[in-house]
């Protein structure tokens, strides 16, 4: 079937899904297009500049920041929010534009790189996440490294304080190595390049095989994940000729303020040990709701809750809910922290008096439900 006809059918499918099924209509067109015309991503990527953003945490917000920078240079299409598999990419590419800024899932990245032949790929970080699907962190990094080796025309930008990102950049013909002065990595005990015990001195690593975060191309001061992602967005934008934008950390941390009948809530996305650690630092108030789910995108296993220390929440009023409320409640219990268990978010938020402020740390699916409500 011809590409133009396939796009027409795919768009129709999207409209029908939106009208009849009341779905977002974001992944259906891409899915239909790819089934009708498997080379669609390759063809639709021609004659435009593509930027891919991938990593465990920060993809969506960093993609948005790059879109903001690039939109001053020309027309831009981007992935529908959070839809980062091949179908989301295909949906985005159906719109004509000079630039496309694509958020890409870690496991889908190699395919997208080989088909879309991006101008630049930004790699934010790689840590343990959804291991039922990723299986092993190193497995994902190895796939990235092969993809980078096979893409000599693409420049790879990344935070080399993360050894897995450094491995990928080392495999690329063109790279821009960014460092924030080094930082500890939960999965950094083994050199992903040669397999020996990785030597760290404070926050920096240096392996005899050559893998290191020293001698970066650009060095910035240390900061929060949101600040790092904004900086990386600016570095990538500059490569394409864009002007740096001011760093708005709150916009980049996937946190949203909401009011529930006079209870002020700050909702924050927490989906793996690294994002939980980051979010727990931001909890300054006395009231907390924790929501843990275990659907496919949340990770169907909850063992990783034991990688996180929740002692920072000690002494606060904590209410837990979600499908895996008991898992988080018991994890807290063993750390000597008692939480109230409720069956859902409405029940949890109604326990707080009007005028109070609550931190809500929510699993991926719960965060999206709350934000879109």
């Amino acid at each position: 079937m011809r590409l133009k006809l396939s796009i027409l059918i795919a768009k129709l499918a999207g409209t029908l899904s939106k009208r009849l099924l009341r779905k977002s209509g974001e992944t259906i067109p891409g899915r239909v297009l790819l089934s009708l015309y498997s080379r669609a991503i390759t063809i639709l990527s021609q004659n435009r500049k593509i930027i891919c953003v991938s990593g465990t945490n920060g993809k969506t917000s960093t993609t948005k920041a790059i879109v903001e920078i690039i939109s001053k240079l020309g027309s831009v299409t981007t992935s529908p929010s959070g839809s980062n598999l091949d179908r989301g990419v295909a949906t985005a590419l159906m719109k004509k534009s000079e630039y496309a800024v694509l958020e890409v899932d870690e496991l889908h990245l190699p395919r997208i790189i080989s088909e879309a032949k991006p101008t630049a790929v930004l790699l934010l970080n790689l840590t343990r996440d959804q291991l039922h699907r990723m299986h092993e962190v190193k497995r994902v990094a190895d796939k990235w490294a092969v993809a980078a080796r096979n893409a000599p025309e693409t420049i790879f930008v990344g935070d080399v304080d993360d050894p897995f990102v450094a491995l990928t950049l080392n495999s690329a013909a063109q790279s821009l190595r960014v460092s924030f002065g080094g930082r500890k990595h939960l999965d950094g005990a083994v050199c992903p390049s040669c397999g020996v015990y990785l030597k760290w001195s404070r926050n920096n690593y240096k392996c005899p095989c050559g893998l290191t975060n020293s001698n970066p191309d650009e060095l910035f001061e240390a900061g929060t994940a949101a600040y790092r992602n904004a900086t990386l967005a600016n570095v990538t934008g500059k490569l394409l000729g864009g002007k740096a934008i001011a760093i708005n950390e709150q916009a980049l941390e996937r946190s949203v303020d909401r009011d529930y009948n006079g209870v002020k809530a700050n909702l924050r996305l927490t989906k793996n040990p690294a994002s939980w650690a980051e979010a727990l630092h931001s909890v300054t108030g006395e009231n907390v709701i924790l929501i843990v789910n275990s659907r496919e995108v949340d990770g169907i296993d909850t063992s990783w809750l034991w990688d996180i220390s929740f002692t920072q929440l000690s002494g606060k009023r904590i209410i837990v809910c979600g499908e895996r409320a008991l898992d988080i409640a018991y994890r807290l219990h063993v750390e000597g922290i008692e939480a109230e268990i409720t069956s859902n978010f409405d029940g949890a938020i109604s326990k707080f008096a009007e005028g109070s402020f609550v931190h809500v740390l929510a699993a991926y699916t719960a965060f999206h439900e709350l934000v879109s409500a």
Binding site: V190, T302, S303, W306, D307, L326, A329, H333, V334
Partner: protein
Amino acid sequence: MSQIRIIRIHNELLGTYGDQGNAEVLAFRAKFHGITTTITDVGYNDPLPTNGDIYLLGGAEDAAQLLSLEALQRGDNLNILHFAIERGAVILAVCAGFQIIGNKFWANGKEVGGLRLLDVHSVPGDKRLVGDIKTISTVLGFELTGFENHMGRTILGPTAQAFGKVITGNGNGDGKFDGAIFGNIFGTYMHGPILARNPELADLLLTRATGRKYAQITDPLALKYATWRRKVIK
């Protein structure tokens, strides 16, 4: 014995799948019994403590598993484990750790010799086994739940006994049994961590380590959590 030394072996290497929680649950349950505990983290370059009562190993990626094996074969470490077993210390080894204490296993595409503490050997399967698992422990007589995520197929030798009979999931790979036991050495593919989901097993390990019987603990939340997992995993 009023104090128990829990030794968490190479958590920096064997901590990928949340198994470090096993040490915390042991310490937490021990408190109910009036036992004080210490948790010692042993790093890759550290010698193993000689006087541990419970030694724990967790799940890992291949390269990390090989580094842990190498470190445990270094210096006196293996002798220390042999002596510990002789004086009745407990070993709980999960997933990659379970394979390490066996006779041989595969990692990074090649076969390597293990510590030979448990009469099992592991080979790679053709497909990764990922999902909830429920067994009934043949030796202990109660149900266990957890989460498995591995490529390994583990075959038991004549002196090892299966840890659990599989109700749901795959376990050692044939869908019939999970893990292995010999004396106070326990091997399993169950994450969760296994002691968080099955607090009775934590109590049993404490009993085995001290040789004492303890009164039943009342911890409604632990019971509720364990019971719920056993119910939802059909």
